[in-house]
């Protein structure tokens, strides 16, 4: 992220609830390949522009980790017609806010501003898609900034360092193993050439999705998009996004990190799991339920009940699953034991609870409550225009189509307990898992 925000690549904690796309959502494509989605919400005179590139950290070449994110920072420098910092300054002077973020599968830029300034921000956003100019001085100063960013968000936080090592163990071959911010030794050497190589290859109208949400009309957006984005040249021969695949994972992995800055130990377990695929979202929908059933609420989930209530050995036990990704994602568990419990005992109880669950199945009252909550979340989600834009952009830049987004609520409502159990049996396979312990210096040995 150019400016500080909390978020972990790929691992978006709670299920990507979606909403009905039929209402107030329009899609069209410009001749140069730019995909445009318009989400109407006329309650406030505000608009959000989000430009999503189908390129993230996992699309980097080996050896230049962090370049996708570095480039994201550099996009706030000069273009042929704007000075360095001008875009943000103009947005600010017009009362708006802007930022950008990079994840494994996408890079996105956004502004939130008064709806009558859409023309202005479209012109500037379109400009920097193709016309970036970078000096060596820009590179050197901004590289210091991203190293400060890494120091602040990763190196100063043992939990973040642990997560980084954990993800590296999760993937044997796939680039999701490499952190979005980059490994420090590679970040230190990121060059102007590396940034430009990535820019030239991926920043093009036929590799982007424009999402405009708020107090706008589709016809008006189309006209502005044609004016500002229409003239941009597409990249010819844009390669299909095929990343290296994981080999079969046949051995469980375990790791332990100790750090003097840790005072509350905890354990993390992740299983490789399928993501939402275009036209095939049923397994992912079942996994949304599975994460909720196993570790959604402290008081009612399977793990919460077992580890916080029936046999209260944990201060927290939860599960998460991020359904939106281009390639395989993961089903994740975290257990934070109380002061009287070892990580070994906590892990044993986690394993026992999971295997009991596979044997006993799902409580049908719990299943119905979750189903209703998922339906209600579609109503609440309509309240936040930015989040709606974000949801569409994330899905579309991660390989899904608008039809998949439209179908998602219904796919979620058609999940049954049987499907969830079938997917649970398939995914909860230790050979495709990583277990990690984060402990204080001299803490419990694995």
């Amino acid at each position: 992220m150019r400016r500080l925000m909390a978020a972990l690549a790929v691992c978006f904690a709670f299920p990507a609830f979606s909403e009905t796309t039929s209402e107030g959502v329009t899609e069209f494509k410009l001749d140069n390949g730019l995909q445009v989605v318009v989400i109407e919400d006329h309650r406030a005179p505000v608009v959000v522009q989000m430009l999503w590139y189908r390129a993230g950290a996992a699309d980097e070449k080996p050896g230049v980790s962090g370049v996708a994110h570095f480039l994201e920072h550099l996009l706030f420098k000069a273009t042929d017609t704007m000075e360095a910092g001008e875009l943000s300054r103009v947005v600010t002077e017009n009362g708006g806010s802007d930022n950008a973020f990079t994840a494994q599968d996408y890079t996105a830029y956004y502004q939130r501003i008064s709806a009558d300034r859409l023309d202005l921000v479209m012109r500037m956003e379109a400009d920097r898609m193709r016309n970036l100019r970078l000096t060596e001085e820009d590179i050197e100063t901004e590289r210091e900034v991203i190293l400060e960013e890494r120091a602040q968000r990763t190196d100063s936080d043992p939990g973040a360092l642990f997560y980084e090592q954990f993800r590296a163990a999760m993937f044997l071959n796939h680039p999701y193993a490499v952190p979005v911010i980059g490994w420090r030794h590679e970040m230190e050497n990121l060059s102007r050439d590396a940034a430009f190589a990535y820019y030239r290859r991926f920043y093009a109208p036929n590799n982007a999705i424009l999402v405009i949400a708020g107090d706008v009309k589709p016809e008006q957006v189309r006209k502005l998009a044609e004016t500002h984005y229409g003239p941009l040249e597409p990249t010819v021969d844009l390669e299909e996004r095929n990343r290296v695949a994981e080999p079969p994972q046949i051995a469980e992995r375990r790791l332990r990190l100790s750090d003097p800055r840790v005072s509350q130990p905890y354990l993390r377990r992740s299983y490789l799991a399928p993501e939402r695929d275009p036209g095939h979202q049923e397994e992912a929908a079942a996994l949304v339920y599975l994460a909720e059933i196993l570790g959604g609420s402290g008081a009612t989930s399977v793990l919460g009940r077992a580890l916080q209530f029936d046999n209260p050995i944990a201060v927290y036990a939860g599960a998460s699953y991020g359904s939106v990704a281009l390639d395989d994602t993961s089903l994740n568990f975290v257990v934070v034991p109380n002061a009287d419990t070892t990580l070994r005992d906590a892990e044993e109880l986690l394993d026992k609870t999971l295997s009991d669950f596979l044997e006993n199945g799902i409580d049908s009252a719990q299943f119905e409550r979750i189903k209703f909550q998922i339906r209600a979340s579609e109503i609440y989600a309509q309240d936040d225009t930015y989040s709606r834009a974000d949801r569409y952009g994330r899905a579309l830049s991660s390989g899904l189509a608008l039809g998949d987004v439209a179908a998602w609520p219904e796919v979620l409502q058609s999940v049954t307990p049987d499907i969830v159990m079938t997917v649970a049996r398939k995914v909860l396979d230790k050979r495709r898992s990583v277990t990690g312990w984060l402990v204080p210096e001299g803490g419990e040995e694995m």
């Binding site: 925000m5 943000s88 947005v91 600010t92 100063t141 602040q152 190196d155 840790v262 979750i370 936040d384």
Partner: protein, 438 residues
């Protein structure tokens, strides 16, 4: 940190032509609320705040309000913790309960289709929380775990050391989650005292936004609030603040240091408030375009983010900033901050900067009013600050009325380089306790 600062600024927010029509509602039982009707989505966002918050902890009972508020949804009325959670899920309501130094806040969202049942559930949490022994043990364990984590988190250590140095014996001077010892010693009676002290009608403010009419809201208020305590605990006195212009270093083994700096601020009702707000934005805000962000990050790459903002608590006002720098960059970054503070006190701002700050503040104002929950929050904030119900329509005029002379007179008043006090945690190069007197 940037986020944190932006949120803090939101408290000061107000209006271009945001189309927000606020109604004042009074129920038969005498409960007051501000309401914005918005019938396009079938749910209501309700925000209830009680003045006082964790500053109402009784002596020796630090953490009692925090523990109490964490227990409100852990069993109420006929339901134990699990029963309450199941009812909550079955209705798909969303309840949030939190306490801060000045207030205790309850945020609720519930669907139109099951509004009565949702309100009944919320009422049980507000009016008849159980504080069951097993729930107390469980939640206490969670708070103790979080207290342990704070002990090795440099940001938390800095925050506590800063508050202690600045506020001394005032409730603001200690961490409101308490200490391991104080939290361990809390009894069920302490929780009941904390409940009666904080969740009382004489301390309460309500905002509602969504699919509900004024008449329906009046009935809802009586159903929801009629059994709350009438009168809460006694609110604290104003805080004496101590800014000595010094610099303190806390040693901590980490690759990047964190610095906080600040001195006193001014009250929201001060006649210089708007000029002060504008010049403070020129220094530490304006998105990423304030002077600090430009000088420390954009020109020199010494930090990922830096900001400074005026803030107002109920019993103290301040002007604080914070940033992180790798250990070899911290000394230089601190020099830049000092230099900019002195330059501002001496020279003030330019006409261009004044204009930029005005267009930013007036243009961003209407952007705050999006989303039922956001607006409900603003309604409560306005009431707690004592702003008139038509304030939104007048706020931008107040920003625009500030002249360059006002701004620079007030810049000289609020920027006090000699009082600017620094505290750093980490292992910064070229900085030691010997640098304390600058």
């Amino acid at each position: 940190m940037m986020r944190f600062i932006l949120i803090a600024l939101a408290l000061l927010a107000l209006p271009a032509r945001a189309d927000v029509e606020i109604q004042s509602v009074t129920s038969k039982g005498g409960h007051k609320a501000w309401l914005v009707e918005e019938h396009s989505l079938p749910f209501v966002a309700l925000e209830i705040s009680f003045r006082g918050g964790t500053s109402l902890d009784r002596p020796g009972k630090r953490g009692s309000v925090e523990l109490m508020v964490s227990l409100l949804e852990e069993g109420a009325g006929e339901l134990d913790a699990r029963g309450f959670a199941e009812a909550n899920e079955a209705l798909a309501t969303s309840f949030g309960f939190r306490a801060s130094r000045d207030s205790l806040n309850i945020s609720a969202q519930f669907l139109t289709e099951n509004r009565d049942a949702s309100v009944a559930l919320l009422r049980s949490a507000l009016a008849s929380p159980r504080f069951d022994d097993d729930a107390v043990v469980r939640v206490r364990g969670q708070l103790l775990s979080s207290l342990r984590s704070r002990q090795t988190n440099p940001g938390d250590i800095l925050s506590e050391a800063w508050d202690s140095a600045i506020f001394g014996d005032h409730p603001y001077g200690t961490y409101d989650g308490g200490t391991e010892a104080s939290v361990q010693s809390l009894t069920r009676d302490d929780l009941i005292t904390a409940y009666k002290d904080t969740m009382a009608l004489d301390l309460m403010y309500v905002g509602a936004v969504g699919d509900i009419t004024a008449d329906e809201l009046a009935v809802l208020l009586d159903n929801l609030l009629s059994d709350l305590p009438e009168k809460g605990g006694s609110l604290p006195d104003r805080a004496e603040q101590n800014f000595d212009g010094g610099q303190t270093l806390i040693h901590f083994e980490t690759p990047q240091s964190i610095a906080r700096f600040g001195h006193g601020g001014l009250r929201r009702d001060d006649q210089d408030f708007f000029p002060a707000y504008l010049v403070s934005q020129v220094m530490g805000g304006l998105g990423s375009d304030g002077r600090l962000m430009q000088e420390v990050r954009e020109k020199r790459g010494l930090t990922y983010g830096i900001g400074a903002y005026l803030f107002e608590l109920d019993y103290a006002e301040g002007f604080y900033g914070q940033f992180s720098s790798q250990n070899d960059n911290m000394a230089e970054a601190l020099d830049v901050v000092r230099r900019e503070w002195a330059r501002m006190a001496e020279e003030g701002i330019t006409p261009e900067e004044l204009n930029a700050a005005k267009t930013y503040l007036t243009g961003s104002y209407p952007l705050r009013f999006d989303g039922n929950s956001n607006i409900a929050n603003i309604l409560v904030g306005m009431q707690m600050e004592g702003l008139p119900i038509d304030y939104i329509a007048t706020r931008n005029d107040k920003v625009n009325a500030v002249t360059l002379d006002d701004a620079n007179r007030v810049a000289a008043r609020i920027f006090q380089p000699d009082e600017l006090t620094f505290m750093v945690i980490g292992k910064p190069d070229g900085l030691s306790d010997a640098d304390i007197a600058n």
